[in-house]
Chain length 204, copies 2
């Protein structure tokens, strides 16, 4: 059966969905006492993985901290203001990237062996890994919202400490962190303004 | 009226929406003869801008190339395989980032003047700009799909040439490029495999 996307044109999402994904969605700082089961994390990754990346390289790696013990290992690396909301989040996701992502290319991009384009080029590896794992983090946040979850993304932490604690062999590197759960609206801050079209965009 | 998100719990999106956003969505290389009007680009940015970024810094800038003349300026900077699909796309989006994004912080993050955290720190500016504009590119791709558009993102181009042609003053820098339109399913390549949960994820 042809899917909607393959059929050439697909219907726009409803206003309610656009609100859930972006317009009304907020960064959460407090959490309702409702757990996020492991199967929801698997469902989330099974959405995120279909997002496009350069040469299908998929450098992002997701470490879900679900136990008190695992979360406790992270707290000393966080900036003061990020500790409480992270300690109380049902799931804390370390969104990292694999510095050896290109070793998977023969399988995930079989059209051409692109390993040689990356091997031994640390600046290109770093730029490609950071760009594409961040793209995937964007998919992750919107996919989580589409599944009914709320997110609390942050980059206020000591990356060297996170890497030393969770990725001591240096193969994976932290990019950003995203708390997951069902948000308590009482913990939402007032919304800050966004740039206008004419500040952020041009039409040529 | 309280929105769904503010009400604490919001309903998951339908399977059809999850398919449109990620599961069935594909990178497009050929385009139906259906234009993308300017008001759709404004509607798209008005979704994208609500996505979260670090300290609400919103470093991404979007340059929509809609005329033949504007697209023609880009083609020499693209890798061979990206030219035809870009020349024929209804809209080509240069997703760039503003190297002076932190100058907006007093307005977009009024809680604390964070300009000093960035000014004169080119490595931190670069990392923050690349991470957050890539996150916003992830929002851009899924928001475009949610509006019924198809995307053709790419990073196969000569960034120095793109910057010299479109951003000669050096204030904005190209990150990636995304074609937009209504995709012709005849131009879709076979789908490449994605990493499994156990390869890309851990639960601790």
């Amino acid at each position: 059966m042809l899917s909607q996307a393959f059929a050439g044109e697909h219907a726009p999402a409803s206003e309610a969905v656009l609100n859930t994904l972006l317009r009304d969605a907020r960064t959460h700082n407090a959490w309702l006492p409702k757990p996020v089961p492991d199967h929801t994390l698997r469902e989330l990754y099974d959405l995120v993985r279909w997002g496009p990346t350069s040469a299908n390289a998929q450098p992002a790696r997701f470490v879900f901290l679900t136990t008190e013990e695992a979360k406790r290992r992270l707290l000393p690396a966080l900036s003061e203001g990020n500790r409480e909301k992270t300690a109380t989040a049902p799931v804390v996701t370390l969104i990292a990237w694999d510095t050896e992502f290109y070793e998977y290319l023969p399988r995930v991009f079989p059209q051409k062996d692109l390993r040689g384009a990356f091997a031994g080029k640390p600046a290109l590896i770093e730029e490609t890994g950071l760009r594409n794992s961040s793209l995937q983090a964007g998919y992750f946040i919107l996919a989580a919202r589409a599944l009914g979850l709320d997110c609390g993304p942050m980059s206020g932490f000591d990356a060297a400490k996170v890497n030393a604690e969770f990725f001591p062999d240096g193969k994976w590197k932290i990019n950003l962190i995203c708390n997951l759960g069902y948000g308590d609206p009482a913990g939402i801050f007032p919304r800050n303004p966004r740039l206008n079209f004419d500040e952020a965009c041009r039409i040529l």
